[in-house]
């Protein structure tokens, strides 16, 4: 078990290095030289360009530039944004909490909706409800997050006014107002994720309910709720857990559209603004932070899996 954990963690570090190289490579491939952006195209002499390039270290070989950037990143320093003149760490410190809150709330909401609905769907797998359940799942998988967001904005701002906030309020200025500004964004992202949880819970429950020990429990006269929630649910949950890493990717992708629609100052909107301004250090930093979060969560899920499900330990 410890050996497995060590292997995964070493693998994680190697993957993160490769990811950083790709992020840096893509970042330096984005068209438009930083010096051009800074000096501006009109009226600048070649000497001015050269001086700025020299100051920024853009004349060094790419490997040296990568080494310099990575040296900072390893120490948790993403450098200074040449566009705003502020430290990238400062930008991240203001953006990450917003997106983190959004992600955690969306994950919580989708789990709280998805698992009970999945159980319900498994119980009603072969009756008239089945059609409704399948239709709900299909809609959940087929409505793009931004369509859900816009429709919520369109109808919610009219008919659900108590839940609607026109702008973002930080937690420090009141938790209730902050949560109010999160309701619609969280709902938009939670829909597809809840559909995934629901589908996985449904199929996993159905599979578990077909096992012999369930028939045994029924034969010995165990009560139905006990069979469902004690015997079956515990065993049915581990495939749902493996889904978590995947769902995290959807949640992170959802940040881009949802933060754009609801004007939330998180990393999703931050990345798009940074790309628009050609603020490379910020682009690289945000990409790196999101990819790191994604990889780390996936490794954590892998490590958590054998801890929560003893059947997985023997296999490892």
């Amino acid at each position: 078990m410890i050996r497995f954990a060590l292997e995964r963690i070493i693998g994680l570090i190697l993957v993160l290095f490769a990811v950083s190289a790709i992020v840096f490579g893509l970042g330096s491939l984005i068209p438009g030289d930083l010096a051009t952006v800074l000096v501006g195209s009109e009226g600048a002499t070649p000497e001015q360009f050269e001086r700025v390039r020299e100051e920024l270290g853009l004349n060094d070989p790419l490997v040296v530039q990568y080494g310099r950037w990575m040296g900072g990143v390893v120490q948790g320093d993403f450098g200074v944004s040449p566009i705003t003149g502020r430290s990238v760490n400062g930008e991240l410190a203001s953006q990450v909490p917003v997106s983190l809150e959004l992600t955690i709330l969306a994950l919580a909401v989708s789990t709280l909706i998805g698992i009970p609905m999945g159980i319900l769907a498994a119980v009603h797998a072969n009756n008239a409800w089945d059609f409704v359940i399948r239709a709900a799942l299909l809609i959940g998988f087929s409505v793009p997050i931004f369509v859900a967001g816009i429709l919520l904005l369109l109808f919610g701002s009219k008919y659900l006014t108590p839940l609607y906030a026109a702008s973002y309020t930080p937690i420090s200025e009141g938790i209730v107002e902050n949560l109010r500004s999160m309701v619609f964004p969280v709902m938009s992202i939670a829909i597809p994720v809840a559909a995934m949880t629901m589908q996985m819970t449904r199929t996993s429950m159905l599979e578990t309910l077909g096992q012999h020990y369930i028939t045994m429990a029924r034969a010995k006269g165990a009560r139905r709720p006990n069979i469902l929630y004690i015997h079956a649910l515990k065993n049915a949950m581990s495939p749902v857990l493996t889904l978590l890493g995947f769902q995290f990717g959807i949640l992170l992708g959802g940040l881009f559209v949802v933060e754009a629609i609801f004007s939330l100052p998180g990393v999703g909107r931050g990345l798009l603004v940074a790309i628009g301004q050609r603020d490379y250090p910020l682009v690289m930093a945000i990409t790196m932070v999101i990819a790191t979060a994604f990889v780390v969560v996936n490794v954590l899920v892998d490590l958590l899996y054998p801890i929560l499900d003893p059947r997985q330990r023997a296999a490892r």
Partner: protein
């Protein structure tokens, strides 16, 4: 149990249409294909013509879906956008299928260093959330229809490579492959004659299921202004603009939304139906991450 005579088995295409959701899927997909091919002849107005009607009107007899902020006919734009939407899904999934398929077969069949390198590259590509990688690639290549399709193709390639590799690994030790090798058949020919037909079914199913998720990803890119360039109509960018006018003209939001959701529903149902026909062993009830992954 009696064996069913082969002749009584319905043809595969007929089986696709026989179940109700397969039928609905076929109808929706056909509708969009007709709009893709015959769009310019169906659309009542030129989709890019300014002032076809009074701006920001709701549905009327002249403009069934209303008009946008520049007085363009919304129905014509919804029809015109179908070509972009279907085109992107087909192009990006085809590229991913071909590149991922060849890479996966090569790695799974050859093993050794090729395989190790491919697996590492896939690991790294899987470390990025889909949309993040697509956004950064478009930022490098510049926005546009082709670059966005290419970005989605790149992001989707590893999934196809993984399925192809797994399938190729599964059959590389079969006797008929060994026999072909002993007979001195060229590896490329073995791959074409024996490996490809064996992995065709799972790859087709994955491709069909990927159509909907590719469309979801592209619509998001387009919504963020990274898709087709104006004035070409496109569901994502239409909705992004409609956001500014939605309180005055809700029809600008509603009709493109319905079209986009309908297309994705069609792709989803079509993929499911195709899986039931081509891959009966992969039951829909089976709880596997592979199955869910394909639907994302």
């Amino acid at each position: 149990m009696t064996a069913t005579p082969y002749t009584y088995r319905p043809r595969r295409l007929a089986r696709l249409v026989r179940n109700p959701s397969g039928l609905i899927a076929t109808i929706i997909v056909t509708l969009f294909l007709v709009m893709t091919v015959a769009g310019p002849w169906i659309a009542p107005y030129d989709p890019n013509e300014l002032g076809s009607g009074t701006p920001l009107q709701g549905p009327s007899a002249e403009h069934w879906f209303g008009t946008d902020e520049l007085g363009r006919d919304q129905l014509s734009r919804v029809v015109s956008a179908a070509r972009v939407a279907v085109g992107v899904s087909v192009i990006s999934v085809t590229i991913a299928l071909v590149v991922g398929g060849i890479g996966g077969i090569a790695a799974g069949y050859a093993r050794g260093l090729t395989d190790k390198i491919l697996v590492r590259v896939m690991d790294v590509m899987f470390s990025f959330p889909t949309l993040l990688l697509a956004i950064v690639i478009v930022a490098v290549l510049g926005p546009g229809l082709l670059t966005a399709s290419l970005a989605i193709a790149i992001v989707y390639t590893p999934r196809f490579a993984r399925v192809a590799r797994g399938a190729a690994l599964g059959i590389r030790n079969e006797l008929y492959i060994e026999a072909a090798q002993l007979a001195g058949v060229h590896p490329v020919r073995i791959a074409r004659r024996h490996v490809v037909p064996n992995i065709a079914a799972p790859m087709t199913v994955l491709a069909a299921l990927s159509m909907s998720t590719a469309q979801l990803a592209y619509a998001a890119l387009s919504f963020l202004g990274l898709g087709t360039l104006p004035p070409q109509a496109d569901y994502g960018s239409m909705l992004a603009r409609a956001r500014n006018f939605m309180t005055i003209a809700p029809s600008m939001v509603i009709f493109p939304s319905i079209a986009l959701v309908l297309l994705i529903v069609g792709f989803n149902l079509f993929g499911d139906a195709l899986r039931d026909v081509l891959d009966p062993r992969a039951q829909r009830g089976k709880a596997s991450i592979q199955g869910v992954e394909a639907t994302i």
